[in-house]
Amino acid sequence: MLHQEELGPRRTVTHPQKPKTNRLFVILGILPPILFVLSLVDLNLPLGKLIPGTGTLFIDVGKMFPPDISSWQTTFVDAGTTLEIAIASTAISIVMSFLLAFLAAENTTPSLAVSRTLKGFASFLRGVPILVWALIFIVAVGPGPFCGVLSLLTHAVGLLIKVFSQAIEEVDDRVLEAMRASGATWLQTIGQGILPMAQTAFISWSALRLEFDISDAMTLGIVGAGGIGWDLENHMNGFDLHGALFIYLVIFFIVFTAELATNRIKVNRMKAVS
């Protein structure tokens, strides 16, 4: 008979421990339904309208067909204006944020106070929705593309300062230290140390910003800041549904193309937002 000692220590089967449930997940499982119900109570939505409304919606959309392309010239000119607004504001905001980002990033800023002030200011700029900026600027400078550029620009600078300075802060501190130790000036550290490392992030964020600007510029027209949004508003208000459908198609086509162009970048970058 074999003794226990000869068999070696008794083997007990250990089941792998089930990973503990993150308490946060539990909260995230309970809280949303409660919030959902509370929100529904607050909104007091006329849910009875949902079904007849959806019926009307389909009839309305049906009425919009076929698209009326007779005013294509104005539509294209307005679409051009929208694109001009988007491109101009992206270009200007890139240049401005590029310069300011170095003052806002903690590892390149001349003083922490400057960095904090700039970052706070940037959050303020991007915290106010673009259309609200547009409403304020219309009062100040009057409607038109200039107003559109200003409002997109204001918001874009707020976003780009944040993400550019994040990209700069991700640069390895030892690289900068080594450069400073070898006697590089501030500008040299930036040009030779930071730019080569951060440029991919800079370029992809700029491309993304252009895409956001294009789709935001579309809606800007609604409050009167020029471009195709204004055109759409006019057609909808004048009940020219066939003309409106054509504008919808043009808008879809432009935003869709912009999205395709920046498809690759987006998913990777959006993860880093805030």
Binding site: L24, F25, L28, P32, L35, F36, S39, L40, D42, L43, L45, P46, K49, G53, T56, L57, D60, V61, T81, E84, I85, I87, A88, T90, A91, I92, S123, G127, V128, P129, I130, L131, V132, L135, I136, F137, V139, A140, V141, F146, V149, L150, S215, D216, M218, T219, I222, V223, G229, L232, E233, M236, A244, I251, F252, V255, E259, V267, K271, S274
Partner: protein, 266 residues
Amino acid sequence: MYPLPQNHYRLLNRRRTVLTWTFIIVLVALSGFCIIATNFSPYNLYTGLGQIAWIVFDKFLPPHPSALGSIVKPALDTVAMSLVAAMAGSVVAAVLGFLAARPTAPHPVFRYVVRGFASLLRNIPALMWAFILVDAYGLGTMVGTLALFFSTVGWLVRAYAEVIEEIDQAKLEAIRASGASYLQVLGQGILPLVLPGFIAWSLYQVEMNLRTSSIIGMVGGGGLGFYIDNGIALFQFKDTAMAIVLVLVLILGSEFLTSSIRRRIL
């Protein structure tokens, strides 16, 4: 691999430099053209900024705290609209996301149809959806909620599908090899892996919805946007300023909240 002759590298390099520079020059020229076409000049900027400063400091500031009483309800509506749209949208998008992602799609046809549908929903801005919806559902928060719901579904289907496509296929293979059915693979293999990603994206969508819902009232969707739009039309700038401050607090608050939750679950 044969080593390329030395001058071949140089040629490749030169071609690349030429391409880069052409690209940069075209970009700069295009930007310059657009800046001029939109009347954006240093002079206009200077006078414009002066006017803006005057308007802001003279008319908008200081905000009237007394307006707060009438702003609370629109602000609650704004938050409620974005939450309802985000949650209902997440559920719908989760189902559609599974149909749109390569590893889980029952048939490739589903992928194309669902992805096309989602792209239609998200590439028409929410405010423009509201235009169509106003006629069918009448002015009010119903329109705002539905328009936000549309764009939420559009964005989240794409994001969820991408989260599903990113997961490690070997793990699913292992579960399948042990005899799991399609539903078991979904529940035991895919769901635990994608859940953090789903939650992170939904939180991000709450933030995006809050931004949109605070302006969607401008086209008849109810909430703070209606109050702001109305206030400016009626020249009640100081009351409007109070509402704008509230929008700012809501958006920055949600940005802070969602990003701190996201950091803990990812």
